[in-house]
Amino acid sequence: MPFAITKMIDLDSMDYLVDVEAPEIVERFHPGQFVMLMTRKEGERIPMSVMKAENGKLTMFIRKLGKTSKELRDGITHFENVIGPLGHGIKEKAYGNVVVVSDAVCGQAENYAICEALSKIEGNTITSIQTFPSEKEIYPEEYLAKALADQHIITTEDGSFGEAGNYITVLQKMIDRGEKIDFVFGGGKLPTIKAVSTVLAKNNIDNLFTTRQMMVDGSGMCGACRLYIDGKMKLVCVDGPMFDSRKVDWDKAIKRYNMFKKKEKEANDYYEAHKGGSK
């Protein structure tokens, strides 16, 4: 039972936006959870964050980098499989002053989903900070968390728009100004999370960050996504995907995330050489 792709927009950024029909998953989805995609029968099970789950459709951002995005570029009309929802969602409750941060494709999806969920709950004042490399990669406004947050801040790494730097710069300024921050949610590039984790630790701020790791089954069978958190083995797929950033060994997580880098290149090269071939 293939899953129809009902919308694909080139965000004129580094990413595509994709809508896929998956009513069963939408019905049970909670923000913070993830899904897995298989683009084709021979495909890999790829963990993906979800921006929106409504009207029977899942909305996701897909980075124009790996093989999946090339398949999208080349016009696939459906995914062979969408699996989920997987992992734990966030607790949808009043946190007080919440800051939601992100600086990469999946993180941007989570930023939107978390802002949307928490904005519906009284007692949350939300600041959303979204970082992009430069002005030209910023998503169109409707795909940002702008309308969902009480305060929305865009930063660019090269300073070409908004605040210069990444979300840590803004967060640090908020802390320096003595603003009260009760909770931080975030996701995106692991090195940035590593850096922000020391800021959060120093200021004793509770937080949950999406810990991206490679996965195979996504249900606790293979152990590929295992990490040691506070000295105990945890599986990102069933115990996560979000953890207190202060407790994760980020150096290990970052190295491990790159375990198949060479193979990814090989898969990409093979696809470019064979596309439109036997299939």
Partner: protein, 474 residues
């Protein structure tokens, strides 16, 4: 006693040939070979082989029918007792079951029952023999089965024969459990497993893929919608040694991960298939069970020059089937006995570089239990670029955490009574989920017996008022 003829030998790929491919090692008997082998059966008045079979196949009659070239009848006979003979014929530890009990064992070689079972299953499949339609109709009664591994499949087949509406919920995108994700192609070709599962669907069993009970569908929902529930989710979570340097080291896999990548995701066909696997040239497999042999032989086929089995005890005590161990050794796999890793050492990029090991001695305690103990000062090192930990598996807590009404022991193994019923009335369990990690055929046997218990339960109870269990969600 007349002189016993030796077994009819079976064709196999030579070791040097087979390590270059993932095709079946064994070719299987031809019709003539099968007839000759089945004729070796002396048709005991009281056959010892049948009670030794966990699914009690009519082995004596199967042998007779094959010897008489009544292949279709033999196929139907076997299928009646076992919906998955092509699988069990290939992966059962026959030497500990039917063949171990065969009277000819005492006089030489037992009848090759496993090979005959596989032969007749293959014959029926390739000749497209049709199975009689199910006559019983109890489709107003619904049975939910959690997991499509051996226990779930066997239970589904049997429940369907009683006429119930049966739905299996499977986490992965393909049904079959360990038959699909764990046991390699060269030992159990996937097309064969798929065909036997196809038969089950033709019988009317529904299989819902991508459904993880406890994650995207809940136990309490199954209880509220079904007359009985059978828990057969196996023991799916890997164990790790927990030694220093493991935290986690790259290119150190659980056997589950290594085999799921290779089998379910067909990483051996990368990059034609998308899932990658890093398998280096010098591979160490920790453990000496069947899964360890599967992982070691898979690594060899993925191109590893050297594959080492690292085992705490002696080769004689290895839990793997003798035949599998023999196949592994023929393929050049090196067996190290009485050694155990104590630390992993990685390179600057976080990949495994070498292992620190100690030698072990086997010490007998007062009760006669033999356990391996490290020998002081025996530390040595072994270079390796890939490690596979094949230490067995434990129940996956994903389900258990969200079904608190189901009582289990401290290992997470579900506790059942003599009728396979759990602490919740109407919920049954079998296979590795309730007996800890065991064999495919033991799980099938339990699935089949549990189906009978479920049938008795539904027949004797009013199941229309559903049991009440706690609603626990993610």
């Amino acid at each position: 006693m007349p002189k016993i003829k030796p077994r009819v030998p079976i064709g196999k790929q030579s070791p040097m040939e087979r390590i270059t491919n993932f095709d079946s090692v064994l070719y299987g008997y031809t019709e003539d070979q099968a007839v000759e082998e089945a004729s070796r059966c002396i048709q005991c008045k009281k056959p010892k082989c049948e009670p030794a079979c966990p699914v009690t196949i009519g082995i004596k009659e199967m042998n007779l029918l094959i010897a008489q070239r009544k292949f279709k009848e033999a196929y139907l006979l076997v299928k009646e007792d076992n919906a998955f003979p092509a699988c069990s014929g290939r992966v059962c530890p026959q030497e500990k079951q039917c063949e171990g009990a065969c009277i000819l064992e005492k006089f030489g070689q037992p009848v090759a029952i496993g090979r005959l079972e596989a032969f007749i299953a293959d014959w029926g499949r390739t000749h497209e023999v049709e199975i009689d339609e199910i006559k019983a109709n109890n489709e107003d009664k619904h049975i939910a089965i959690v997991g499509s591994g051996p226990a779930g499949l066997a239970c589904a087949a049997e429940c369907r024969k009683y006429g119930y509406a049966v739905t299996i919920y499977e986490t992965l995108h393909k049904p079959g459990g360990v038959l699909i994700y764990g046991i390699p192609e060269f030992r159990l070709p996937k097309a064969i497993v798929e065909k036997e599962i196809e038969h089950l669907k033709e019988m009317g069993v529904k299989i819902e893929l991508n459904h993880t009970v406890g994650q995207n569908i809940y136990y309490y929902e199954l209880v509220s919608q079904n007359d009985a529930v059978f828990l057969a989710m196996g023991a799916g979570a890997p164990k790790f040694m927990g030694i220093p340097g493991e935290n986690p080291m790259d290119n150190v896999y659980s056997s589950n991960e290594f085999l799921i990548r290779a089998n379910l995701m067909k990483a051996y066909r990368f990059p034609e298939w998308d899932t990658p696997i890093n398998c280096g040239n010098k591979v160490a497999v920790i453990g000496a069970g069947n899964v360890a042999m599967d992982a070691a032989r898979t690594a060899r086929r993925l191109g590893a020059d050297e594959v080492h089995i690292i085992y705490r005890r002696t080769r004689e005590l290895a839990p793997a089937r003798k035949e599998e161990l023999q196949h592994a050794l023929e393929e050049g796999i090196i067996f190290h006995e009485r050694v155990a890793p104590v630390r992993f050492h990685g390179d600057d990029d976080g990949f495994i570089d070498y292992m620190e090991l100690v030698r072990m001695e086997l010490v007998e305690d007062e009760d006669g239990n033999i356990s391996p103990e490290p020998i002081e000062g025996s530390t040595f090192y072994m270079e390796c670029d890939t490690v596979i930990e094949a230490l067995g598996t434990v129940p996956n807590r994903l389900f258990l955490d969200r079904a608190p009404d189901i009582k289990r022991d401290e290992r997470g193994v579900i506790i059942v009574d003599e009728n396979y019923m759990t602490s919740v009335e109407g919920t049954f369990a079998g296979g590795d989920a309730s007996s800890g990690a065991a064999t495919v055929i033991k799980a099938m046997g339990e699935g089949k017996k549990a189906a009978r218990a479920i049938h008795a339960y539904i027949s004797m109870h009013d199941t229309s008022h559903r049991q009440k269990v706690q609603k626990v969600e993610v």
